[in-house]
Amino acid sequence: MAQAVATLEHTQTQGAHGAGHEAGHGHSDHPPTSTGIDHRKLLMWAFLASDCMFFGALIATYLIYRGRAETLVEAGQGVGPLPFEVLDIPYTSISAFVLLMSSLTMVLALAAVQKGNQRGLRVWLIATVLLGTIFLGGQWFEFKSFYQEEGLGLTTNMFGSTFYTLTGFHGTHVLIGVIMLMSLVWVSLRGGVKKDQAINVEVIGLYWHFVDIVWIIIFTLVYLIPYREVHVEGGEAIHEGMIRFTRLLGIG
């Protein structure tokens, strides 16, 4: 009887002793683990938790320094350009939309590989890479126009420092995602991503969706929430926002 029970438990849990289920080592459909979740997927979730804290710290830095450049300009000690002068919401809305759509194509790529549809996988992966690249191109031209036309460098003022750091690290994340997706395309062209390797697509997909979600937060905090408008005329700062507010109340 001991034998019988042991055999039963063996079949239920035999996976727990397989060492090293790493990428490229898919021998079975579902590498059995104690939790039933693939090692790579659990690793990615842990990494994303950590990355939340990473972006959390960067976003906190951005928010703490929000308005500092304006304050210095008002005091006559700082220089522009200031956020309200350079940020182009319609332009960035389009690239945000492109990035969000890339999450859709990512899901379609995963669905394809799970059905064993190599062609579908390739098409949707390449579509995701293209959309990601368009987003990166949009960021490149945005940075370029800020730097060359508006004169906003990394060290120009606190807005430049925090803006380029936060959006730049997000862009780096997108770039790494694009590189991983291109690797997947390469693997798929060389011999195809097997059905049991779909987990690789899924894990990279998790990363990709996370990067998208972070962009929604950054887009909202950096672009959509209005900034204080400061116009300096003849050395005296005029608060556009304050003027509008007082007019609204009928006291200006």
């Binding site: 001991a2 035999q14 727990a16 397989g18 060492a19 090692h39 950590s50 710290a57 830095t61 606190m158």
Partner: protein, 649 residues
């Protein structure tokens, strides 16, 4: 009847080609070897950090000391703190995570063996980067906390801060990679029957420490990235003039720094939670509460960082809130202390060396904990801030806590790792010498602090009245140094001619003691299945407390119980450990050795050295990159791609 696997008796371990020699260590992905490499490297850095401390104490042994210049003194205390925290205590804990955790959960390796090797190499290179600074005479000099503006390019124009900043960044990568690995390993690689609530407490401590690391380190990563921008690219994140705020550094640093305190102590708590039950001959008192207490400490640990900043003027509201949250931590910590006492209470205590160090932790950590509760009160903290009282406090928790715990762990698991028992007689000399020297070193610091002696100052005058206790402290420190010589002697002597260890020399209850000492490369010839916590005791004593066999009255009871346990043999539910699979060790699938982790880690090292050397500079558009940085990046990319497409075996 199926029992625990005895691989040594089943089939002789198979000698695989390439299992000896330097190359086999360089390419190893075996968690046991990586654990040993972590342990040896960490011990080396512990001695380096100790020497730095002794130089500090030599300088302060008498008024107007002339051993170190003021500038050298700054370097010494900075490197002492940095080395002890990042290069000694954390990797020593990591050594135990690596060696012990897979064995405790019945696994044959960690979830990502190559990532594990990568963590080690990155840690080693990070340690080298920081210590290279001595060679060019530009050692970090801003304190281990690196407060702005001490780190700014204008106030600290040398490369001192750069070595520290880049080294720490690299060490962060090592810690995070290792922690991701252990989180996945502990959740996913448990043998049949090893449920979360049957995990040994040390494995729980490892899991929660790993979670703390992956959530706390990003904050210092960002802090250091911003510092890199400030120093290399001229931004002003921490410079007041351009609208920045030096306090931002303190916030980001302590959001990491306080969880870091628990990252340093929780593994030691886990170790003593394994040792005290073994030498009290009783299961751990309040296992479940213990698990929740560790989790509660970790959770609260994220909400108390401002108590490091009470004197920065954040105002009464912030101070009151963080004072309250800090005091709350005393509750789960107190629970742990009472649980250890409860475990020992009416136990059949055996004061072996590991037990002495474990009990040493309980007593000495409590002293540090009590002064910690004092600091939770902002008015008291204002008095203690930047005085020797604070140094006394954190050495009671770091040395009296972490180091005592780690030493206990070395004595406890040394037989499993090496197959030899550390000499008990020398061990007891070692313990008492350490214990006395430790208290001689750090207790008088309370008096010095209350008398107003400021920390981080390289000298003091005769008129200050600090001379007497300072010389006592220095004498204690050198005695502490001698205690480590005794320890090294014990290790060398026991390795050569120590008593051979049996599989389970302490009669301990967890799975690592079910296999040979040292374990075979595949750990478990037969993957164990457990049905209870403390599986080896359950199997041996039929679910009854093991100490009963040692007392006359209870031997009789135990006799009956053991008889019953045997009578119930047909029922496998009563078997705490039994075989779930019979395997020929020759057929056990083990991951292949790999040198890609080393290459990938080397890329980071080359890039960091490139930033430190600075020349020749490549100009790519707006970027002015030292040439070695893209070279390092290329090595890293090459290693990562080789790794990703290498068959894992």
């Amino acid at each position: 009847m199926a029992t625990i696997a005895q691989p040594g008796t089943l089939i002789a371990p198979v000698a695989k080609p390439g299992t000896t020699g330097l190359w086999s260590w360089i390419t190893t992905v075996d968690h046991k070897r990586i654990g040993i490499m972590y342990g040896v490297t960490a011990f080396f850095f512990l001695l380096v950090g100790g020497l730095e401390a002794l130089l500090i104490r030599a300088q302060l042994a008498q008024p107007n000391g002339e051993v170190l210049s003021a500038a050298r003194y700054n370097e010494m205390f900075t490197m002492h703190g940095t080395t002890m925290i990042f290069l000694a205590v954390m990797p020593m804990s990591s050594a135990f995570f690596n060696y012990v955790v897979p064995l405790q959960i019945g696994a044959r390796d960690v979830a990502f063996p190559r990532l594990n090797a990568f963590s080690y190499w990155v840690f080693l290179f990070g340690g080298i980067v920081i210590n290279l600074s001595w060679l060019v005479n530009e050692a970090p000099n801003q304190g281990w906390y690196g407060y702005a503006p001490l780190t700014s390019a204008s106030w600290n124009p040398g490369r001192n801060v750069d070595f520290w900043m880049l080294g720490l960044q690299i060490l962060g990568i090592a810690s995070m990679a290792a922690s991701f690995n252990f989180i996945v390993t502990i959740f996913n690689m448990r043998a049949p029957g090893v449920t979360m609530m049957r995990l040994p407490i040390f494995t729980w401590a490892t899991l929660i420490t790993s979670i703390l690391i992956v959530l706390a380190f990003p904050s210092i990563t960002v802090a250091l990235l911003l510092l890199m921008f400030d120093r290399y690219m001229g931004t002003s994140f921490y410079a007041f003039a351009a609208g920045g705020d030096p306090l931002l550094w303190q916030h980001l640093f302590w959001v990491f720094g306080h969880p870091e305190v628990y990252i340093l102590i929780l593994p030691a708590f886990g170790i003593v939670s394994e040792i005290i039950p073994v030498f009290s001959r009783k299961p751990l008192f309040g296992y479940v509460v213990m698990v929740y207490a560790i989790a509660a400490i970790a959770f609260l640990g994220f909400g108390v960082w401002v108590h490091h900043m009470f004197t920065t003027g954040l105002g009464p509201t912030a101070n009151a809130i963080f004072s309250g949250s800090t005091m709350l931590i005393a509750i789960p910590t107190g629970v742990k202390i009472f649980n250890w006492i409860g475990t020992m209470f009416r136990g059949s205590l055996k004061f072996t060396t590991p037990m002495l160090f474990a009990v040493g932790l309980v007593s000495q950590f409590t002293i540090g904990g009590l002064s910690g509760v004092m600091h939770a009160s902002p008015p008291i903290d204002g008095q203690h801030n930047d005085s020797y009282f604070v140094i006394a406090h954190f050495h009671y928790v770091l040395f009296g806590g972490s180091i005592f715990g780690l030493l206990a762990g070395i004595y406890f698991w040394f037989p499993k790792i090496t197959g030899k028992i550390l000499d008990e007689k020398i061990g007891k000399w070692h313990f008492w010498l350490t214990f006395i020297a430790f208290n001689a070193t750090f207790f008088p610091m309370h008096f010095l602090g209350l008398a107003g002696m400021p920390r981080r100052q390289y000298t003091y005058s005769e008129a200050s009245g600090f001379a007497t206790w300072s010389s006592v402290v220095s004498a204690g420190a050198f005695l502490l140094g001698i205690s480590f010589l005794v320890f090294i002697y014990n290790i060398l002597k026991s390795l050569r001619s120590g008593e051979k260890a049996t599989d389970n020399p302490w009669d301990a209850p967890t799975l690592e003691w079910s296999i040979s000492s040292p374990p075979p490369v595949y750990n478990f010839a037969t993957v164990p299945t457990i049905s209870h916590r403390d599986p080896l005791w359950w199997e041996k004593y039929g679910g009854h407390e093991p100490h009963r066999e040692e007392e006359t009255v209870e031997v009789k009871i135990a006799g009956i119980k053991i008889g019953q346990a045997e009578a119930r043999d047909e029922n496998p539910k009563d078997q705490a450990v039994h075989a779930s699979e019979h395997n020929d060790p020759a057929n056990i699938h083990l991951p292949n050795p790999s040198y890609y982790p080393l290459i990938t880690a080397l890329g980071l090292f080359v890039a960091a050295v490139g930033l430190l050397i600075g020349e020749p500079v490549l100009n790519i558009g707006l970027l002015h990159l030292p040439a070695l940085v893209p070279v390092g990046g290329a090595i890293l990319a090459l290693g990562a791609y080789g790794w990703a497409f290498e068959p894992a075996g």
